[in-house]
């Protein structure tokens, strides 16, 4: 087992597309075992930021650097739950098996991990169902379980509980807190301020492509260090 | 209708050898009538002509021509020229036919040695002649499903390509052979028997049956081709210094 690939250091990230500056001057460090919540209005650039950090897009400016590991390690030791889950045209179970295979998990370890993931997603009964036939919420749970399955060093989640019922929200939050306690760094995008309060250690507030205030979770949420964030938390931001 | 051109349904040998490319500009210069050549197998040419798709026929299959005219599809059939058939084969001549004058003996040699022979097998004028030559030699080549006798079911050029590719003998008209480029180490091995003569005819497609036929232009073409001038032009055509077609007009 190699050392954790963390900390992740992003310096002055910027992203420009179609002549629009969508992200600008974002600097951020993610340490082992931390729990970061990214807040911000629709279109602020939260999903873009996650994509950059996860290596899905190349930043237009700035750099992203990891502390350890080959590029293959880095790929294998991080995971992301996308805002719109995408599943292969196969059964629920086969989707998890596939993901484990892709991550290089030895064949003998897979079946145990699959069981665990199915239980976590509450999909044990639906294991043979075609993944694309699941309800939206079930698909989202499958995504989260799949991402957690390989116990990554860092886990990016883009509004993973947006379509979940309250009980499922609670279960996912518990899973995240547990994983975090085992050392997985978590970066979570959400619109649910009370969720941020429940799970977050550090809040990053994004507005219009810039970090517009950040701080430790309870204190920042109670008393944000930026006007925009204060307005947002009071439910008053103009989109 | 005043079309200033005729459509000539011709056999491929006169086109591929370059004869028509030699004759047509002369005719065009003299009469102002253009000639559009559709070069196909004799069978297809006759069929197209029956349907009225064309004005003049230039083919070489006496029996079929006569039938065509007797059925009223064509008029004014004239034999205009001839050349001859030859047997070609690989230079080392496995059947030993070189310099044999009797074509029946040639075919006998080939069949008795069971050397590969490629037949056109397409019911063309050349194919029909080949069959009659086997008949003369008293042989039924495809009777025993023999592997040495192959029906290519192709035009003359394609059949020659196959013969060269297989190292087989074949019967071809001399004009096509001389103008054929993919000879490899093949050469003419048997020729000269009078039974190898190959006469060509022109026929005007019957304007009564097919009113759109350019009878005027067609007649002009036939008239010119059979005139001393046209006959001279046929004799004058050379390919690599060799005469390929001979006029029927004795001069």
């Amino acid at each position: 087992m190699i050392k954790s690939i963390l900390p992740l250091r992003a310096v002055e990230l910027g992203y420009i597309a179609n002549a629009r500056t969508l992200l600008d001057g974002i600097s951020l460090t993610i340490n082992r075992g931390t729990f970061t919540v990214v807040l911000g209005p629709n279109g602020a650039g939260k999903s873009l930021l996650l994509r950059l950090l996860h290596g899905m897009l190349e930043p237009s400016t700035g750099t992203i650097s990891w502390a350890n590991g080959s590029s293959a390690d880095r790929r294998r030791r991080q995971a992301m739950v996308f805002q719109r889950p995408v599943h292969l045209r196969r059964s629920v179970e086969a989707n998890i098996v596939f993901a484990l295979g892709a991550l290089g998990i030895p064949r003998k370890d897979r079946s145990g991990l699959v069981q665990l993931a199915l239980e976590r997603a509450g999909l044990t009964a639906a294991r043979r169902v075609h993944a694309r036939l699941l309800s939206v919420g079930e698909q989202q749970r499958l995504s989260v379980a799949r991402a957690l399955a390989a116990e990554p060093d860092i886990l990016f989640l883009d509004e993973p509980t947006a379509s979940l019922d309250p009980v499922s929200v609670h279960r996912i939050e518990t899973l995240l807190i547990e994983a975090n306690a085992r050392g997985t760094a978590i970066v979570l995008v959400t619109h649910d301020v009370s969720q941020a309060r429940r799970v977050g250690q550090k809040i990053v507030f994004l507005h219009d492509g810039r970090i517009n205030g950040q701080g430790p979770a309870p204190s920042f949420l109670d008393n944000p260090n930026s006007d925009v964030a204060r307005a947002y938390l009071a439910g008053k931001i103009i989109v | 209708k005043n079309k200033n051109y005729i459509v000539l349904q011709s056999t491929t040998s006169v086109q591929n050898s370059g004869l028509l490319g030699h004759l047509i500009p002369i005719f065009h210069k003299k009469t102002g009538v253009g000639v559009r050549v559709v070069a196909v197998g004799t069978g297809q040419a006759l069929k197209n002509a029956r349907n009225g798709d064309g004005d003049v026929l230039l083919v070489h299959s006496r029996a079929a021509e006569k039938r065509f005219v007797s059925l009223g599809f064509g008029i004014e059939r004239h034999e205009v020229m001839y050349n001859d058939y030859v047997v070609i084969g690989p230079r080392h001549d496995p059947a030993n036919i070189r310099m044999i004058d009797d074509i029946a003996q040639v075919f006998l040699n080939i069949s008795s040695k069971r050397v590969p022979f490629v037949s056109r097998g397409d019911n063309s004028g050349t194919h029909i002649r080949e069959l009659s030559l086997w008949n003369i030699a008293g042989i039924a080549p495809d009777a025993d499903g023999a592997a040495w006798y192959r029906e290519a079911g192709s035009g003359m050029g394609a059949t020659l390509n196959i013969a060269v590719g297989m190292g087989a003998y074949a019967l071809t008209d001399r004009a096509t052979w001389l103008s054929f480029q993919n000879k490899g180490d093949f050469e003419v091995l048997a020729q000269g028997d009078t039974r190898l003569s190959n006469p060509y005819s022109v026929i005007l497609i019957n304007p009564v049956r097919h009113p759109h036929v350019n009878g005027k232009g067609g007649r002009a073409f036939i008239k010119w081709l059979t005139s001393p001038e046209g006959q001279g032009a046929i004799n004058a055509f050379r390919l690599n210094g060799e005469q390929l077609f001979y006029s029927v007009l004795k001069n």
Binding site: N18 | V7, T12, N16, G18, G21, R36, V37, V38, A39, V40, N48, R50, N51, G52, D53, G155, M156, G157, A158, L160, N161, S179, F180, Q181, N182, K183, G184, H210, H212
Partner: protein, 245 residues
Amino acid sequence: MVREFREKPYMHDLNAAILLAAQLIYTGDADLLEIIGLSIGVSLTAVLASCVIGMLLGAAIAVLKFRGRGAVTILLNSLMGLPPVVVGLGVYLLLSRAGPLGVFGLLYTPTAMIIAQTILVMPIVAALTRQVVEDFYAEYDEQLRSLGVRGRRLVTTLLWDARYSLITVALAGFGRAIAEVGAVMIVGGNIDHLTRVMTTAIALETSKGNLALALALGIILVGVSLLVNGAVASLGRRFGRSRYD
């Protein structure tokens, strides 16, 4: 063109063909240019006609629910295997003087060639379009039905949204048209200066045993295809295709 190269010594290998091709292009032989022009003209026109008919037809089959839809799809897929010679014969029988459309005197004209190639290419365009549009429609289906989009509007909307993928379909049709010889040979007659196109010229040279020249013409034909494809690709790029398209 023919005469010029007839006197070449015997050669049959690929190198000779490539050399010959280069030489033909370099000298810019007028006959050759005429033949290339006719090839492109006939095939592009046929493909255009095929796309107009075939894409509408293919998209309609993809989105409309009707009895026998499965059978129509199988038929369409099968017609991708229409032999050019058979299409040529069919069109010949139609256009022949003895045929129902004989009075128009279209046989042995470029128009006849266009008709034959359109019949040949249309099913290919339609069958491939059906597949492409059906794949797109899976995503749009409910949203468009919810909006009450039906019939003609549904078909054109999907065709427009699938336009970048349909370029490849059109190019497949073009490839089929520009390369085929059986149909244009029969209905065009390979008449010099009138209906001789690249493929019939190649067939002619092959039958003369001019294999090197035939291959050289073939190489040039592939070059022409490359030019057309390159032009289409750069047009496509011009009108920009982002990764979200």
